[in-house]
Amino acid sequence: MFKYLKQLTSLVAMIAVLFTFTTESMAAKKSKTLKNTQKKGFVRCGVSQGLPGFSNADAAGNWTGVDVDVCRAVAAAVLGDANKVKFTPLSAKERFTALTSGEIDILSRNTTWTLSRDADIGLTFVGVNFYDGQGFMVRKSSGITSTSQFKNGISACTNIGTTTELNMRDFFNSRGISYEPVAFEKADEVVAAYDAGRCDTYTTDKSGLAAQRTKMKNPDEHIVLPETISKEPLGPVVRQGDSVWEDIVRWSLNTMIEAEEYGITSANADSMKTSDNPQIKRLVGAEGEMGAAFGLDNEWNLRIIKQVGNYGESYKRNIADTGILPDRGPNELWTKGGILYVPPSR
C-alpha cells in the first residue's frame, strides 16, 4: 500500500497541475501575480534567515516551519505541488522592500501585523498564522524570575528593524527604567552577543526566544520570563493591489485552520469527500464551487490539506515536536480555548 503512495501522490499532483492550467478563468486573467506564478511554475516566497519552527533550512536546503507551510499551501493550491516554492531568505530590514519591489510574491516571515505597516508601505496583511507576544530571556543564574526585577542600567540585546525595538522602549519607559539597547542586524549576532554576556537580557517575540534558545551553547542556562509585553500577531503579507492573489493566500491559510476545526487531516482528507457534513465537503472540494472565484479548480483546498496538512499538523510537526513551544497557548482553536478563529469557507 505505502509502496505506491508516492507514485499515487505525484500522479494526483500531475493531474492537478493539468487541471489548474485548463481552468484558467477570468480571475486568473485579472490577477497578474497568479498568472506569473503559474507561468513560472513556482511560488516566490520570502522567509527568515533561519528561525527554527517558523522558517528554517536544513543542511540539504529543505525549508520547514509554519511560515514555510503557508507558502507550500499556496503552491499546492495554485500549482498543485506543495514543493514548487522558491524560498528567499530575507533580513528584517530587506523583507518589505523585497515584497514591494516584486522580488517575492508572499512574505511569510514571522512579521507582525501593525496599522502603519498595513496602511503605509504598500503591503496587505492577509491573516494571522501565529499569535505571539514580546518577551525577555535572561540567564537562570541571574536569579531574575520576573521583569519587575529589572533595574536601571540593564542592557538588552535585540534585532534592528522590528517592532521589538519600539515595544522595548515603551516597556522600559513606562516603568521608568533606564536601559542600554544593543541592536544587531542579524539574529545570529544577537544570540552570540547575548550568549557571550554582552547583555543582561535578550528580547524578541516569545516564539523567537524559544526557537533561538535551542541554538545557544547551553540552552538550560537560560529562561524566558513569564511576562508578555506586547501583542505580536504574525502572519503572511502580500503586495497591495492584487486582490485575487491576496484572497488566495488568505484562504489557503484559512483552509488549514478550518480543516483542523473539522478534523480533516492529510491522512483522512480523501475519505472526507463522502462526509455527511456539507461544511467538510466544501473544504475537500466535494461540494460547491469554492475555487472558481480565485480562478482555481475545485480541489485546491483538498490539495492543501493532503500535501501540507491542517494547521494543527503543521504546528505539531514544526513547533511542538521540535520542543520549541509544546504548549499551543493562544494558537489553539477557539473551540479548545485558544483564539484561532477563521471565517467559514462557503
Partner: protein
Amino acid sequence: MNFKLKDIGPQLMTVIAVVLVFGFFTYNAQVNMENRGIDFGYGFLSQESSFDVQFSLIEYDGSHSYFRAYLVGLLNTILVSVIGIILATILGVLVGIARLSPNYLINKFAAFYVEFFRNIPLLLQIFFWYFAALRALPLPQDAEAMFGISFLTIKGLFVPAFIWENFNIFFYSIVAAIVAIIVIRIHAKKVQETQGKQIPVLLISVGLIFILPLLSFLIGGVRLSFEVPVLKQLATTSFIYEGGVSLPPELIALALSLSLYTATFIAECVRAGIQGVGKGQKEAAASIGLTQNQVLKLVVMPQALRIIIPPTTNQYLNLTKNSSLAAAIAYPDLVLVFAGTALMQTGKAIEIVSITMFTYLSLSISISLFMNWYNNKIAITEK
C-alpha cells in the same frame, strides 16, 4: 560651425543620455510607487522616532524626531571615523618608518604586520575583534581595575568622568598658550631670517602649554575632580558600572579594527613617500652642514609628504566609508540607526537611502577638499 558641432556633439549626446536614463528610472519608480500606494516625501523626518539608541553624542531618546536620530547616527559615524583616522595615521607612520629600519627584527615585524592585516577582509576582522573581545573580556564583577579607576569589561570600557570647577578659566589658559606659541613661532622665523639666530621654539612651546594651564589651577581657582565608576548589582550575576564615562565595546572593536586595517595601507604610503626622496637630496643636505634632524625636517619630510598625502587621502576616505560595516556589530552609526532602524520603521526606503548616500558623499568630499587644501599648502611653490 561644423567644427563646433563636432566638438560639442558627443558631450551633448552624453548629457542627453544621462538625463534620459535618470529620468526613466525616476519615472519608473514614481509609477511603481503610486501603483502600490507608497507615498514619497521627507515629511517623516519631523515625526517622533519612538526608538532608542545605545550610544549618542547628543541628547536623544525615542521622543525626538527622525531627523535627530539621523544626527545621532551621523555623529557616531564621524566619531568612529575621526578616532580611526587618528589612530591609523599614528600607527601607519610608525609602521611605515619601521619598515625602513635597518634593524632586522623591527623591519620584518612591520612587514609581517602590513601583509597580515591588509590581506584579511575587513568585515572578518571586525567580527574577530568584536567577538574575540567579547569572549576574552571579563564580566563587570570580575574586572581588574586599571590604575585603580578604569575598568575594561565585556560591557565596555568604564573610565572616570572629569568634574571641572571654573572650566572656562582653564580653557582660556590653553587658548592663551596656543596664541602665545603662534606669536613666538612667527617671531622666531623673523629673527632667523634677519639675524640668522635660532630660538628654541619647541622648548618654549612645550613650556607654555604646561605652565599656563598649571597657573590656572594654582591661582585661577580651577578645580578638577574625578567621578570614578562604581560597580552596581542588577541581579545575582548581573553587574554594571555606574558613574563615569562608558565606551561601548562595539565602538572600541570597530575603531580598533578600522585603524589596524587602514594603518597597513598608510604605512605603505609613508614608506613609498620616504623612499621616493632621492638619496642625493639627503647627502646634499648633510654636506651643507645640516644636522640629522634638520635633514629630516627641512629636506626629506617636505618632499616625502607631497608623495604621501594624495594616496593617504584615499585611505581616509576608505576608512570613513568602511565604518558603515558597523551595522554588523551593533555600533549605532548612520547605516544602523538611519538606513536600518529608521528605514524599517518608516518604510521610506528611497528617501532614506538617498539621504544616506548624499551624506556619505558629502563626508567624503569634505575630507577630500581638506586634504587637497593641505596638499596644495605643502606643495612646492615655484618662485
